[in-house]
């Protein structure tokens, strides 16, 4: 597991190993048992089975036959799983078997201490692993909701939950019909078109204005720098509902409420802080003598900007643009108020869908959006590395 060993591994006595393995088996047995009617029976059966397995693996077969033993345990669990619950049992059994075959040797051979300092007490070791499990649970909390959405979007039924067919891995339980719905429904397609019409223009506005202003702000002699910065950052600070309320009042006064242009304007304003922050961050590492050198060699300011400065700060500009794009693409509160039915965007439709008629098409859209955001996240990360390489910093 780990590349180095802090503590020499030593075999643990069975009086320690077997109860621990048995307890783990009991917990697993509880799940299987409750699902089949009797929790208590499951706990006892699981504990006894695992203790027996542990004894056989550690004492009878021993370390020499570890590989074979582990495969044997996996095979045993898979067989039991298939017997109990068919195809899902096969997979669950495989997972359980893989875990226990590793766990028995990890505990029994004392490998869990390898990566820890030798002076830790037993309680501290326990705390260390409990802490890891806790953190693991928090990561599960962070990631599960998103992972649950993806399989559910392939649901063949119009339910928001896993159907028995899906749990049996029955192909009939899965379908692409919600994706088909998305791509054929005129409402969703109109919403997609609106989103794609609004976001790029808003991005263009905030990137072009934002980059210029960031360059201006990075000069040393700007009066009222802090005040200007505060104003430019404010769209990010003010709660969206307040921005939305203010824009609704003001834009309806000047006739922009319910127009395409009004929504673009509002989204551009919301995207500006992201552009300002990323581009100024890039400019911090920018070597000013480069522009002076260019000017020295006879380049006019425009040429200098496009041929020298722009290529160097481009990663920052693009990532600012991506932020602005995502802001506009995901935004729902402001468009809800500033837009009219003609500007209904994808998030807006999802929002009304979630509030009123619940249809799993939303989950298909959600999956598509997750894929898009993963793609954007990867792009951003690559850009960041490139920017650091260009500025002579080491990646990572």
């Amino acid at each position: 597991m780990n590349g180095f060993t802090l503590t020499p591994v030593e075999k643990k006595p069975l009086s320690f190993a077997l109860p621990v393995i048995g307890a783990a088996g009991g917990v697993a047995g509880l799940f299987v048992g409750t699902a089949h009617g009797s929790g208590l029976m499951g706990v006892i059966a699981g504990a006894v089975l695992l203790m027996a397995l542990g004894f056989v693996a550690l004492r009878v077969l021993g370390l020499g036959m570890e590989k074979a033993t582990r495969w044997g345990i996996i095979a045993l669990f898979v067989a039991a799983g298939v017997l109990l619950a068919g195809l899902p049992g096969f997979i669950l059994g495989g997972l359980f078997g893989w875990f226990f075959s590793w766990f028995i040797f990890w505990i029994g051979e004392g490998r869990y201490r390898a990566s820890l300092p030798p002076y830790l007490t037993g309680g501290q070791v326990l705390w260390h692993y409990a802490f890891w499990i806790l953190c693991g649970a928090i990561f599960v909390f962070l990631i599960t909701p998103i992972l649950v959405v993806i399989p559910l979007s392939f649901n063949a039924q119009n339910f928001f939950t896993f159907t028995p067919e899906m749990l049996r891995f029955d192909p009939a339980g899965y379908s692409l019909k919600h994706y088909r719905d998305f791509f054929t429904s005129s409402g969703w397609q109109q919403a997609l078109r609106n989103s794609l019409a609004i976001a790029p223009l808003a991005t263009l506005l905030s990137v072009s204005f934002g980059t210029l202003a960031a360059i201006g702000l990075s000069s040393e002699h700007v009066p009222f720098r802090r005040a200007i910065m505060a104003i430019l950052i404010s769209p990010m600070i003010v709660p969206l509902i307040i921005s939305a309320a203010g824009m609704y009042f003001f834009y309806s006064r000047i006739g922009l409420q319910g127009t395409y242009f009004g929504v673009v304007l509002a989204h551009a304003a919301l995207g500006i802080p992201f552009v300002i922050i990323t581009v100024t961050a890039t400019l911090v590492g920018f070597d000013r003598s480069l522009t002076r050198a260019a000017a020295n060699m006879g380049a006019d300011p425009v040429t200098t900007f496009f041929r020298v400065q722009m290529p160097l700060i481009l990663p920052g500009v693009i990532s600012g643009g991506l932020f602005a794009f995502i802001t506009s693409f995901d935004e729902v509160v402001v468009v809800l108020f500033v837009g009219s039915a003609n500007q209904q965007t994808l998030p807006w439709r999802m929002f009304t869908g979630l509030r009123e008629q619940i249809s799993p098409t939303i989950l298909a859209v959600a999956t598509i959006l997750v894929v898009i955001s993963i793609a954007l996240l990867t792009t951003l990360e690559l850009l960041r590395r490139r920017s650091e390489r260009l500025r002579g910093m080491s990646p990572g």
């Binding site: 699902a35 201006g216 002699h221 709660p239 834009y251 955001s373």
Partner: protein, 555 residues
């Protein structure tokens, strides 16, 4: 090149003093920087700051009463508020309400005042319908005396005082101005009518009523004034004018168009003008002193009423007081918003701290891997995450199904985890957790792990070493993350709207409700202003503690 022995200012190559040319160069640089910033600054000011300012303005603006009932407000100024106002006030109300009803503005005023006192809305609606009938009595009586009163042309000639007569431009432009305020537009052009100076001296009420009728007919209805029969209000105004003995005396010496018809009308018996009785007959609520007090209280162009309402107070005759207990909703709502935001912040600290700690203490490669798990939800659409929580928490949702399948919960007693505070707190903790982890992580990265080891080697237990050495150094991270999460949580709208039901909603949901459903924009603006003030104070604190330049976006 300058000589070192030379006295006086140092000169640049072109002969100007170096100081001045340096200053000029600096100024040029400054101007260039400002010129680069200017377009964006103007853009943000127009597209974002102006709307916020407009919202702040709307939270105190209250011009509707003064704009819709200008004469009534004027008459009410001297009213002492002890009993029902006198006939003068009701006459002013009649003309104001007649015009407002023609312009269909009276219902707006009614619903505005209804926010302060329920029942006023229907008062304005019914009486706005009845003003025509009140005036018609006089129209019938006058046409009975002379059928010429039914002719548009006759009225036009009479009121303009003939082709050659001197005009009263001021009266007309006053009435046009009043109409502009009421309709909230600007009118330009000629009305094709000017009230005669002589006739408007003799018949002041009639001239005023006819002038505003003429302006309305020309600008709003876009008709020809001379071809339209005047409103019932004009007949009522004439009746009021003719009541006055002075008018009769003045009419005796008048020889403009329609003079003899007017004299005949002045001598004939007209029905008595009693607007007070007529209004009370239309709706009994007009004799409720309380309603009149509300009108008087909200007649100034600016009001603190919305803000008082937003903090569960109201203006009463005895001054400002708390609303009765069953009407207090915003205090509870603000408290709930605060409480839930604090709960969310606290759960974020609880969940974020271990994760940030483990990431800060792992080798960079593994930490980056875990960072992806943190950033993925950060980068996923808010609606995706909210829908995910709806899927998870529903009664027929994933968590309940799992619990039922495991036998931990009976099928008929599935847990209620959505549409209440629990649902909002769980979903928002998940959504805001990355905002807590990222600042904590960046602070913890800077704490050298050797400190902990040093503390332990000096004999501290694990707990003491953590609590006395590590934790104090990580507090800035907790502070930054907490303020950030709290600021974001307090103004959240989407997630509470979807998973919050009725008990898990925030003040922002109420703002949205007032904008789109109850249409009480002033109250929405006041609630928004209070929320904005809270956020700005927190933001100021954040700037002091962390510094705005340190805002980082996802590592």
């Amino acid at each position: 090149m300058s000589d070192t022995t030379q006295t006086g200012p140092v000169l640049a190559a072109d002969g100007t003093p170096l100081k001045r040319s340096l200053r000029r160069a600096l100024r040029a640089q400054k101007m260039r920087a400002l010129a680069l910033i200017a377009p964006l600054l103007i853009f943000v000011l127009v597209a974002f700051i102006a709307p916020i300012a407009d919202m702040l303005f709307r939270s105190v603006e209250n011009q509707i009463v003064g704009n819709t009932l200008p004469m009534t407000v004027e008459e009410l100024r001297d009213w002492d508020g002890t009993e029902v106002p006198d006939e003068q006030v009701f006459r002013a109300l009649f003309f104001d309400l007649f015009l407002a009803a023609e312009a269909k503005e009276h219902t707006k005023l009614g619903s505005r005042l209804n926010y302060e006192q329920s029942g006023i809305s229907s008062l304005f609606r019914t009486s706005g319908r009845d003003v025509g009938d009140i005036g018609e009595v006089f129209q019938d009586a006058l046409t009975e005396i002379d059928p010429a009163f039914d002719e548009a042309r006759f009225w036009y000639d009479m009121m303009s005082g003939g082709a050659e007569a001197e005009g009263n431009e001021r009266l007309l432009s006053n009435q046009i101005g009043r109409l502009e305020v009421l309709e909230a537009t600007n009118f330009s052009g000629d009305v094709d009518f000017v009230p005669g100076a002589a006739i408007s001296d003799i018949l002041p009420n009639t001239a005023r009523a006819y002038a505003v009728f003429a302006a309305f007919t020309h600008f709003v209805d876009e008709d020809v004034v001379a071809e339209e029969e005047p409103w019932e209000a004009v007949y009522a105004a004439l009746a009021i004018d003719l009541e006055d003995p002075a008018t009769r005396a003045a009419l005796a010496g008048y020889d403009g168009p329609g003079a003899d018809v007017l004299r005949r009308a002045a001598d004939a018996p007209l029905p008595p003008v009693d607007m007070k009785a007529a209004f009370i007959d239309s709706n009994k609520d007009w004799q409720r002193v309380g309603f009149w007090k509300v009108i008087k209280t909200y007649s100034p162009p600016y009001t603190t009423g919305y803000f008082l309402n937003a903090v569960d107070m109201e203006k009463t005759a005895e001054g400002i007081a708390l609303r009765s207990a069953d009407q207090r909703i915003y205090g509870i709502l603000f408290q709930r918003t605060m409480f839930m935001s604090l709960m969310i912040t606290f759960s974020c600290i609880l969940l974020g701290y271990p994760v940030a700690w483990i990431m800060a203490n792992l080798p960079a490669r593994k930490a980056n891997l875990l960072m992806i798990l943190v950033l993925l939800p950060f980068w996923t659409s808010l609606l995706v995450r909210t829908s995910a929580w709806k899927v998870m928490l529903q009664q027929q949702g994933v968590i309940n199904d799992t619990l039922v399948w495991l036998g931990l919960v009976a099928n008929e007693s599935r847990l209620v985890m959505i549409n209440n505070q629990f649902g909002t707190i769980v979903a928002m903790t998940h959504i805001l957790l990355p905002f807590m982890i990222l600042p904590m992580y960046s602070v913890m990265q800077t704490i050298p792990p050797s400190y902990l080891r040093a503390a332990k080697s000096l004999g501290a237990t694990n707990w003491t070493a953590f609590w006395r050495v590590y934790f104090p150094q990580s507090v800035p991270g907790i502070g930054a993350g907490s303020i950030l999460v709290f600021i974001l949580a307090i103004g959240y709208y989407i997630t509470p709207e979807i998973v919050g039901g009725t008990t898990g909603t925030f003040i922002s949901n109420r703002i949205a409700y007032h904008i789109s459903t109850s249409l009480n924009w002033g109250l929405a603006a006041a609630l928004g202003s209070i929320l904005l003030a809270v956020v700005l104070i927190l933001y100021w604190a954040y700037d002091k503690i962390v510094g705005i330049d340190n805002v980082k976006l996802g590592g």
